[in-house]
């Protein structure tokens, strides 16, 4: 009986370890960004730490997202240093006029409509509310992609249990809905889907 219980507990322990430790490792594949980028350095050099200096919001509410290569080319026509990132930027993208295939941490699926204009202009949410201190980071953290759904790990959140997540973690429908309900806004499908 004791022996049986022991084996039972071993089974419990093994599956708990597999679930909490093994699953996140097995489920996500880490991908490298095309080259290193330092938000902090760029903010210092440009003398402005405002997000919308580069990630602009048009008068018609269209959010530009990531800056285009032509914005990079304004300064980086030639390598600005000896780093590998500079070389890659100039040779692979600036010279060829190609857009950098950045892996976007907060990319939502195609059927999701997220309006930066509504959230930043009307609701006056700070960028950090959802993106954290990404703008002050000195390095691009690893991008983790879900092997099944193909989404960035940020959508689910860093915590595998989604328990006690910090405010800027998790961008699933539940997260949007939770906040909308709390604030008394529409939760109709139409509001956030297209």
């Amino acid at each position: 009986m004791i022996r049986g219980l022991c084996f039972f507990l071993i089974g419990v322990a093994a599956i708990q370890v597999a679930g909490w430790v093994g699953l996140p490792k097995a489920l996500y594949v880490t991908k490298a960004q095309p080259f290193e980028y330092r938000h902090k350095t760029h903010a210092e050099k440009s003398g402005s730490a405002e997000c919308d200096g580069c990630h602009t919001l048009g008068a018609d509410g269209v959010f530009a997202g990531l800056p285009k290569t032509e914005s990079c080319a304004a300064c980086h026509t030639e390598p600005q240093g000896k780093s590998a990132a500079e070389a890659t930027l100039v040779s692979s993208y600036v010279k060829t006029e190609k857009e950098t295939p950045w892996l976007v941490y907060a990319r939502q699926p195609a059927n999701v409509r997220f309006s930066h204009a509504i959230h930043t202009k009307r609701a006056k949410l700070a960028c950090e509310r959802c993106h954290g201190k990404h703008g002050e980071s000195d390095t691009l953290r690893p991008y983790q992609e879900n092997r099944i759904s193909g989404y960035s790990r940020d959508i689910w959140g860093r915590s595998i249990s989604r328990w006690k997540r910090v405010a800027n973690e998790g961008m699933k429908m539940d997260d949007c809905e939770g906040c909308h309900k709390q604030q008394g806004f529409d939760t109709g499908c139409l509001s956030c889907h297209r």
Partner: protein
């Protein structure tokens, strides 16, 4: 700050102005990323969220009269048949706008809603959406592409509503400018036969037009309160509202 007060979007289509040019159908397809018809598609398996039908009075020679009737989702307000039947809440009557909305990603493709619709305004994606190589670059980024095996229909171009909302938000306004939100078919109509707007707004053209004595709704007696109205000065055309005894034929 709350979101905009509830609206009831609807349209009034003046059948005496419709020339049957079909621009609304093309504009609708391009706006909503409807894939080109499959080589084996027929008029019964194609995707036409906006479909202009040609109807005659059955007469011959000088007695023959014809009318073009653009048929789209009627966005029924009461006991919306497609909403009540969907087993997994993939169809919704949006409280904020009155738009009947289809969520293709939630849809399992049971097609029960299609049998429920009296207007045949719902369409099934019988084929995988395929474009000739490269043509996917012309897809409208404001509208998600649907997949095979789901139902779709007119949603009053809600991608354009999103654009109008973004524009209002960027200007710091809580309400959209009605001029910024017009579905593709409304914009595409050269004779301006379609009036679109908020039926709740007493000042709106659509409200006035919907209450005109020449206005009618198709199958209003079913009691589903459709929000798409039609109007015509011709009596026989108004007679097409309900299934009567007169002989009519589709041309």
């Amino acid at each position: 700050m709350k979101t905009q007060k509830p609206r009831r979007y609807g349209m009034v289509i003046d059948l005496d102005r419709c020339t049957g040019c079909g621009a609304c159908m093309t504009a609708c397809a391009a706006e909503n990323n409807v894939a080109p018809g499959h080589a084996k598609a027929t008029p019964r398996t194609g995707l036409t969220p906006m479909l202009v039908q040609r109807v005659s009075n059955g007469g011959a020679g000088a007695d023959r009269r014809e009318v073009f009737i653009p048929v789209t989702c009627m966005h029924c307000e009461h006991e919306t048949p497609c909403v009540t039947v969907c087993p997994q809440q993939a169809v919704e009557l949006d409280k904020a706008t009155g738009i009947v909305n289809q969520m293709p990603q939630r849809c399992l493709g049971c097609r029960y809603c299609m049998t429920a619709c009296a207007y045949h305004a719902r369409y099934f994606n019988w084929w995988d959406p395929e474009w000739p190589v490269g043509m996917e670059r012309t897809l409208n980024p404001g509208v998600a592409v649907r997949m095979r095996g789901v139902v779709e229909k007119c949603n009053f171009c809600h991608g354009r509503l999103h654009e109008a909302e973004d524009k209002a938000a960027a200007a710091g306004k809580a309400e959209i400018d009605p001029a910024d939100y017009r579905p593709a078919c409304v914009e595409a109509c050269a004779t301006q036969a379609i009036v679109f707007g908020d039926l709740n707004d007493p000042a709106s053209d659509v409200r006035k037009a919907s209450r005109h004595e020449d206005s009618f709704r198709l199958l209003a007696r079913l009691g589903t309160e459709p929000k798409v109205y039609y109007r015509s000065k011709q009596e026989w055309v108004r007679g097409l509202a309900e299934r009567g005894q007169q002989e009519v034929r589709r041309g």
